[in-house]
């Protein structure tokens, strides 16, 4: 792989620029859908871009009682982790830029690195709201990590490989895993919403309780980086679930269609429920989510032995 194509991959196609564009488009679609569900007009198309540009232009204030290097470094780490994980997913329906055996585990690790750095960013300050936000983010991270991983392992076992683009090829040719493993799909979808802290699981940034949780102290560049990271995480989450459960992504049209439908469902779920208290989310997820995922795995293994 000569340096030019890697350079191109890193910076232009599945890497930086393309991701920025597609994440703002998806954020806009998400906010517009939630608005329409709530019978509101919703933001104009360039609103997410405007937000990010405004934030980047703003001065970044470093509050005292905070370790400056961590305060500045963490948003960059978060964004880097997310951008790296994007390289291994079949972004826009095309082959992933890089692929090696076991890259599914690396992608999942990178995704949780993002939430981890968000939690650390909150814990780094002495402001009460972000301390509370940080503890809630980390509690939610631990409770959503395992079932989400199990839900993604289901199709991986069926496909017999840990490499995303091989799974992509497998799901492309076979029956949609959604039909064979519906429970897994449900657990994955709700796990994604828990990971992205979308309502009803938005206790870590409950606006009426703790202002904006771990991000309360952030402004300007740091906040912009975290916001972009969150949007890209949404896009990657949607691509992962559609590659695994909705019969793979072979061309851009399929990509847009499948992730679009998924986004409509996610936005609908967002506007349907009241915010669960953190103890309710964790209680719900460990009791129901984890068990369902385990049963799903058990069923697959048993079926494979029988068939």
């Amino acid at each position: 792989m000569n340096t030019l194509t890697t350079f191109l991959n890193l910076l232009i196609f599945p890497g930086g620029l393309f991701l920025l564009i597609i994440s703002t488009v998806y954020e806009w679609v998400d906010r517009k859908l939630v608005a329409r569900y709530q019978n509101r007009v919703g933001p104009r198309w360039f609103q997410p871009v405007a937000d990010i540009v405004k934030l980047l232009a703003k001065e970044e204030i470093i509050p005292n009682g905070v370790r400056a290097e961590l305060f500045i470094g963490l948003p960059a780490v978060a964004l880097a982790a997310i951008l790296a994980s994007a390289l291994y997913t079949p972004m826009f329906g095309l082959q992933p830029a890089f692929s090696f055996r076991g890259d599914l585990i690396v992608v999942l690790y990178l995704l949780s690195a993002m939430t981890l750095s968000l939690g650390l960013a909150g814990a780094n300050t002495i402001d009460r709201f972000s301390l509370i936000g940080a503890t809630r983010t980390l509690t939610q991270l631990f409770s959503y990590e395992a079932p989400f991983l199990l839900a993604l392992l289901g199709p991986a076992i069926v496909a017999g490989t840990w490499q995303i683009n091989e799974i992509n090829a497998y799901t492309g040719t076979h029956l949609w895993i959604l039909i064979t493993q519906p429970v897994g799909f449900l657990v994955a979808l709700i796990g994604l919403m828990g990971k992205l802290e979308l309502p009803p699981f938005d206790a870590p940034e409950a606006e009426t309780e703790i202002v904006s949780g771990a991000l309360t102290e952030y402004s300007g560049r740091g906040l912009a980086l975290f916001r972009i990271g969150k949007d890209i995480e949404l896009v990657i989450g949607l691509t992962l679930i559609s590659t695994f459960y909705l019969g793979g992504l072979s061309n851009p049209l399929w990509f847009v269609l499948k992730t679009g439908v998924l986004l409509v469902v996610v936005a609908g779920l967002q506007s349907l429920f009241a915010r669960l208290r953190i103890d309710q989310t964790v209680g719900l997820w460990w009791r129901i989510g984890a068990l369902l995922a385990l049963f799903q795995l058990l069923a697959i293994i048993v079926l494979r032995l029988v068939l």
Binding site: A35, R36, Y37, Q38, N39, R40, V41, G268, L272, F273
Partner: protein, 139 residues
């Protein structure tokens, strides 16, 4: 105990047009008896100053240039007016009413909210001798 009691409404509103309008691009229609900006009719005014005394926000000052020829000037501060129409009801000669079209209160500086109602020459003469301590001069 239902999960997501709002499901029907949420899905339906996806296809309904939004209830919000993007004002000011689309104008917001006001009802016909909206209490907007005060309008004074100097032909009917008798200079009794009832409106001035009853106004809870002291938004009206009535200057009497000449009582016999009924030449008055009303100084009206739209930014301190609270649009309660007490003056309209206190006025015995129906010289005041509130417009239902002018209600958008936005201006670049305070002076834009200060209106002088009355004939041109009265207003000019009032402003001409608007020397300090003028307020008491006309009574």
């Amino acid at each position: 105990m239902k999960i997501g009691a709002l499901l029907g409404d949420v899905v339906r509103s996806l296809f309904k047009s939004p209830a919000t309008i993007n004002y000011p691009a689309e104008p917001a229609q006001a009802p016909d008896n909206l209490r907007g900006k005060l309008i004074w009719d100097n032909r009917r005014c008798t200079g009794c100053k009832l409106c001035m005394n009853d106004c809870p926000a002291n938004a009206i000052t009535l200057h009497i240039i000449d009582r016999k020829e009924k030449r008055f000037v009303m100084e009206y501060y739209e930014n301190s007016c609270i649009f309660c129409a007490q003056c309209v009801h206190s006025c015995r000669s129906e010289a005041l009413r509130m417009s239902n079209t002018v209600w958008e209160l936005a201006a670049l500086h305070q002076e834009d909210f200060k209106y002088y109602y009355g004939k041109q020459e009265d207003v000019k003469s009032l402003l001409a001798n608007e020397a300090p301590g003028f307020a008491g001069a006309d009574d």
